[in-house]
Amino acid sequence: MAVSPPEVHGPYAIQLRGIVKRFGPVLANDRIDLDVLPGEIHGLLGENGAGKSTLVRILFGLCPKDEGEIWVGGRPAEITGPAHAIRLGIGMVHQHFMLVDRLTVTENLIAGMEPIRRGLIDLKTARQQVEQVARQYGLAVDPDARVEELSVGEQQRVEILKALLREVRVLILDEPTAVLTPQEVDELFRVMRALKAQGKTLIFITHKLREIMAVTDRVTVLRNGRKVGTVRTAETTPEELAQMMVGRKVILRVGRSEGRPGPVRLEARGLRLAGRDGRLRLRDVSLQVRAGEILGVAGVEGNGQLELEDVVTGLRQPTAGQVWIDGRALWPGPASEPGPRRFRRLGGAHIPSDRSRRGLVPPWPVSRNAVLGRQREAPFARRGLLRFQPIRRHAEAIVERLQVRVPSLEAPAAALSGGNQQKLVVGRELAFEPQVVVAAQPTRGVDIGAIELIHQALLRMRAAGKAILLISAELDELLALSDRLVVLFEGAIVAEGRTEGFTEAELGLLMAGGAGRV
């Protein structure tokens, strides 16, 4: 493939020309060009699977390219690996931190470039280096803390320091906000601006329009492995960017009509759950979800959401407390019937937070995944044997209703993109006319188009008088869909009220353990 050489290499920090990367039959990057100016914050925007991560992995040497050229600081470079990229002055903050939990901050930072004294690591010098860089960029950390003792935000700071210690000029941030609370995101943006002020170049990957608008100078949008265009942030709008991203007009916020909540359908009273170490993961959680109502559960991950999800769907027995569905008890319940089966018998549907481990059997065909949980029932089984014709028809209906893109009904679920997997799960769970829906992180790792469809599906359930418990880490999602909100912090509900009664800043504060309000 002939690639026209760029006119000028001088002024650019990074230039990518005609980058091509194939994974089997899939073109992850299709002749992508990218020009990054020195000292700018350059946004890389696109849906999941658009090729953003692949592109920066190629730039950082984590993944070999099939075609194309890379120019760093005006010079052509064949980047052979991360070590080479770092030598060229390119650093990366990974979405899943590249830190070892058990080692200290200092050990993590200096590994691979250890100061040596008499053949052994010179820890004193190492600590001084760490403290010096931390001071220079205003990123306070305790050099002797173990990484596992740090909060997610602090760990990210360590990850940034790791690159700065290696004196990189270009820093790639791969979806850095995905794991942060709103306050931590603000702090990250402050750090990013500070780095820019010190002359660093930043490449910022995200699929969130608001973040692009807040912090970038220019944006390059990718779609389906291709570059759609590069625009100045100041000269564009979220709507325009969304359209570039998805390729059609998108409704950024689904409308939620005024609700008419009916009787209570899902109720939890005084739920307690002790973890294996004896610590309480749920502390006297009580909540009610009415017919035609969406109750949102907000909170920073790890504050009891997973445990709440497990208990109200019957997967885990609470240490104390009760759960009722339409006045019938889910907990306590007879040991003879497994909790999840009772949950389904009482009319529950569960959209699990971890779709690949709990929502689907990834190696199985789409068709069989479409009836999971109902495989014993007619018409999918008769006299103990599966009947494939009705199963396939059912799968077909789901795939059509939620516009799941599948190569075939017999393709393994693992072959679907994240968004399509999630649509399959949502479609399956809502297909059985449930009375109560527990939706946990229903749009995690899902592209904008799929988010729109999933949100609409949930709102249709609400309109049909079902009760929906929505557990989500996405504030936007909670604010858009929920009639009421509860905030979980350290296993307890610290605030509860109508959605309109909360501001985003307030919620962020509550999620971080700020003053409670019930």
Binding site: F60, L62, C63, G81, P82, A83, I86, M92, H94, F97, M98, L99, V100, D101, R102, L103, E107, N108, I110, A111, G112, M113, E114, I116, G119, L120, I121, K162, R166
Partner: protein, 314 residues
């Protein structure tokens, strides 16, 4: 009863403990080195056996036990390399590859014994390692009789444990190894060559375990016999876990196992009417008990047993 106690905890029992601990401790250190780098090393048993055989054969061939040691090191590194080839290069399941190595060495040493010596049971006597008597040290009270005279491999074991500790926890290479065992992708992103380092760790581990084997055929005894490792590789693995993946801890745990072994030998020589079979079970029973108890608290390297590929797949 008091007399019994004195016999059981005599200097003789403790010296025997040291002798018996040597192969297990060396193999436990081998386990530590490879598992800290993320490779489960179930092949220790085979490496001890192979090392014992190579040492005895080279010693009988050349008449020099020192060349026997060299042969054990070479054989150990070859076996480590073989495990690396399968577990790293071909991404085989570590446990399966390790067990395969054990079975291979059991069969191979049996076959070679037939071919070379025409016997199934034991080789003829081969030149064994000398016993070193260390001046000054041997004259000390208590420590003298305990540490004063041993074969060189006992001293090697006593030196190797602290040296490996320093290497693992204070040297740049050790930090890199630990990082690989915990989070190989993180190691790779700071420029550490993960697979090469893992391979080297397996070579070192192979040499250590094989030296443990050489102690059996050239130090403890002076011949090779079929399956002479007798489960010491598995005990070493247990010692490594009990010792929290720490060379010093592993050596101490090995000493504990060896002590019960020394005890059971003592008990057999005394005229105590306990069934021999039960007494002989002592070290193995303790291994099971210790592992069952220790495993709950133990925290293995986070990426132990996982395959690392340059593209992050797998």
């Amino acid at each position: 009863m008091n007399e019994l106690f004195e016999v059981l905890f005599s200097i003789n029992t403790l010296t025997a403990t040291l002798r018996l601990a040597t192969p297990i401790a060396l193999a436990a250190m081998a386990g530590t080195v490879s598992e800290r780098a993320g490779i489960i090393n179930l092949g220790l048993e085979g490496k001890i056996l192979g090392g014992a055989f190579a040492a005895a054969y080279a010693s009988s061939l050349t008449g020099s036990p020192w060349l026997g040691l060299l042969a054990a090191v070479a054989a150990g590194m070859a076996m480590g390399g073989l495990l690396g080839l399968f577990a790293i290069r071909f991404r085989a399941d570590h446990v399966v590859a390790g067990v395969g190595l054990n079975i291979l060495m059991l069969g191979l040493t049996g076959l070679l014994m037939q071919v070379i010596w025409g016997t199934r049971g034991a080789s003829p006597t081969v030149p064994a390692l000398p016993t070193w008597s260390i001046p000054l040290l041997r004259d000390l009270p208590v420590l003298g009789p305990l540490l004063g005279s041993h074969t060189p491999l006992v001293y090697l074991m006593l030196l190797a444990a602290p040296l490996l500790w320093v290497w693992l926890f204070r040297s740049p290479a050790g930090l890199r190894v630990r990082m690989i065992g915990e989070h190989p992708e993180a190691a790779a992103t700071v420029g550490i060559r993960v697979q090469r380092m893992q391979f080297r760790c397996l070579l070192l581990a192979g040499a250590l375990a094989a030296l443990g084997g050489a102690h059996l055929s050239l130090g403890h005894l002076s011949w090779f016999s079929a399956n002479m490792s007798a489960g010491r590789g598995y005990m070493a693995l247990a010692a490594n876990i009990f010792g929290q993946w720490n060379p010093l801890g592993g050596a101490l745990a090995a000493a504990l196992f060896a002590f019960t072994d020394a005890l059971q030998m003592r008990i057999q020589t005394l005229q105590i009417p306990w069934p021999t079979e039960l007494v002989q079970m002592l070290p193995y029973g303790l291994t099971i008990a210790v592992v069952a108890g220790a495993v709950r608290r133990a925290r293995p390297p986070a990426a132990l047993g996982r395959h690392y590929g340059p593209d992050g797949e797998g």
